[in-house]
């Protein structure tokens, strides 16, 4: 629950476009939270409610995260080369030489 001050200030703005929030939903205990989409909302509680209505009303969602889109730092297409160079010529970098014990689920 936000403080009264922040509730007022968040609505005082003449900008009618509400801030954007990214939504991550979890489909079961232990499953990863996956990006589901985004919603507009003036605060976190409203973002959660909107995310619930849009992304979690049907299906087996057990948890929802909402994050202000402005809080996310993303890589840019310019990073393609140096950032994501797979280094296929250096096979020792890939963890594929390990035996996976039986019973362990591989994602």
């Amino acid at each position: 629950m936000t403080s009264p001050e922040s509730r007022a200030s968040s609505l005082d703005s003449s900008d009618t476009q509400w801030p954007l929030w990214e939504v991550f939903t979890q489909e079961g205990q232990g499953a990863p939270h996956e990006h589901a989409g985004s919603v507009h909302a003036v605060d976190a509680e409203q973002a959660l409610q909107n995310a619930r209505d849009v992304y979690a009303r049907r299906g087996k969602i057990v948890s929802v995260w909402v994050v202000p889109t402005a809080s996310i730092t993303a890589s840019t297409p310019d990073d393609m080369g140096p950032f994501f160079d797979p280094g296929n010529d250096k096979p020792y970098r890939h963890p594929q030489f390990y035996k996976v014990p039986r019973g362990v689920r591989v994602y």
Binding site: R7, L11, Q46, Q49, V54
Partner: protein, 290 residues
């Protein structure tokens, strides 16, 4: 069909028919035959279920009028979700009402083939949707009442009603969270939003008395542990509403003359118009399947 002054219809409360015809509803559904059948007429129970169902059907219809007109896309979806929850609850309650009544009317017949004088909803839910502040203020007042009512109905001695109420209560808790959040935002928002939502509460207040009226029907079902005597909910409702309004910097209106009559089929001028629209297709094509 006249939407004017309701005719002087006979009261359909408990005791209007002589010996109670006991018909265990749940016997066919594999439940243990509940004890509620002793002493309460099907007539009173059917009437009580109609009241519960009609409140939710009419409010669902009013919320559906917002579809595509919400203040922002996400809120549009939220109002549609709440509307759908209410329609789902109404369908189950009216179906049960029709079975209890035993005249062969299903939920569609009850929703689409009754005139305003036969509806049993409180007048609060039939008022036009107004602006967003009015819709949210009405929703908050009704959700706060519903949450208390359905928490108790979930423990009804009537197994089917308890099942419906238990499912509904989960949805209602979400509705209340949504409407409470909006009352805080609007009341403690801009001078414009504050003034609008305060004005909505001032206009709506006289329709809240009816939520807590009880008559022979309410008392009959409450005595059997089937239903809730609404008058017992009022103190808790009042405390809850006062707390939220105070936090939202809003004033609780003074109790004055309270509107009444919905439970007896006496409605405002608005219900007939709403039903004319809601029922137009069913009336034009009686018996059609869809």
């Amino acid at each position: 069909m006249g939407y004017g002054n309701p005719p002087d219809e006979p009261e359909t409360g408990a005791g209007s028919d002589a010996p109670p015809a006991v018909r265990p509803l749940s016997a066919t559904a594999g439940h243990v035959v509940p004890t509620w059948t002793s002493g309460v007429t099907d007539n009173a129970l059917a009437e009580y279920l109609l009241r519960l169902g009609d409140d939710r059907l009419v409010l669902g219809q009013r919320l559906a009028e917002w579809c595509g007109h919400g203040p922002i896309l996400e809120e549009d979806i939220a109002l549609a979700n709440i509307s759908l929850d209410l329609f789902g609850q109404a369908a189950l309650l009216l179906k049960l009402a029709g079975e209890t009544e035993g005249k062969g009317r299903d939920e569609d017949a009850l929703a689409f083939l009754r005139d305003a004088v036969e509806f049993r909803n409180v007048q609060l839910v039939e008022l036009p949707k107004g602006d967003f502040g009015f819709t949210i203020a009405r929703q908050f007042l009704f959700d706060a009442y519903s949450e208390l009512c359905y928490a108790e109905l979930a423990r009804s001695t009537h197994a089917e009603l308890a099942g419906i109420a238990s499912k509904a209560h989960k949805e209602i808790r979400y509705h209340l969270r949504h409407s409470t959040d909006w009352i805080l935002k609007l009341g403690d928002g801009t001078p414009e939003s504050h003034a609008r939502v305060q004005s909505a509460f001032d206009d709506l207040w006289r329709f809240t008395g009816e939520l807590f009226e009880s008559d022979d029907v309410d008392r009959a079902v409450a005595e059997q542990g089937i239903g809730v005597d609404p008058s017992t909910l009022r103190p808790r409702w009042r405390t809850r509403v006062e707390a939220v309004l105070a936090e939202a910097t809003l004033r609780v209106p003074n109790d004055g003359v309270m509107a009444s009559g919905g439970r007896r089929g006496r409605h405002t001028e608005y219900l007939g118009h709403m039903l004319a629209e809601m029922q137009s297709v069913a009336r034009a094509h009686p018996g059609a399947q869809w």
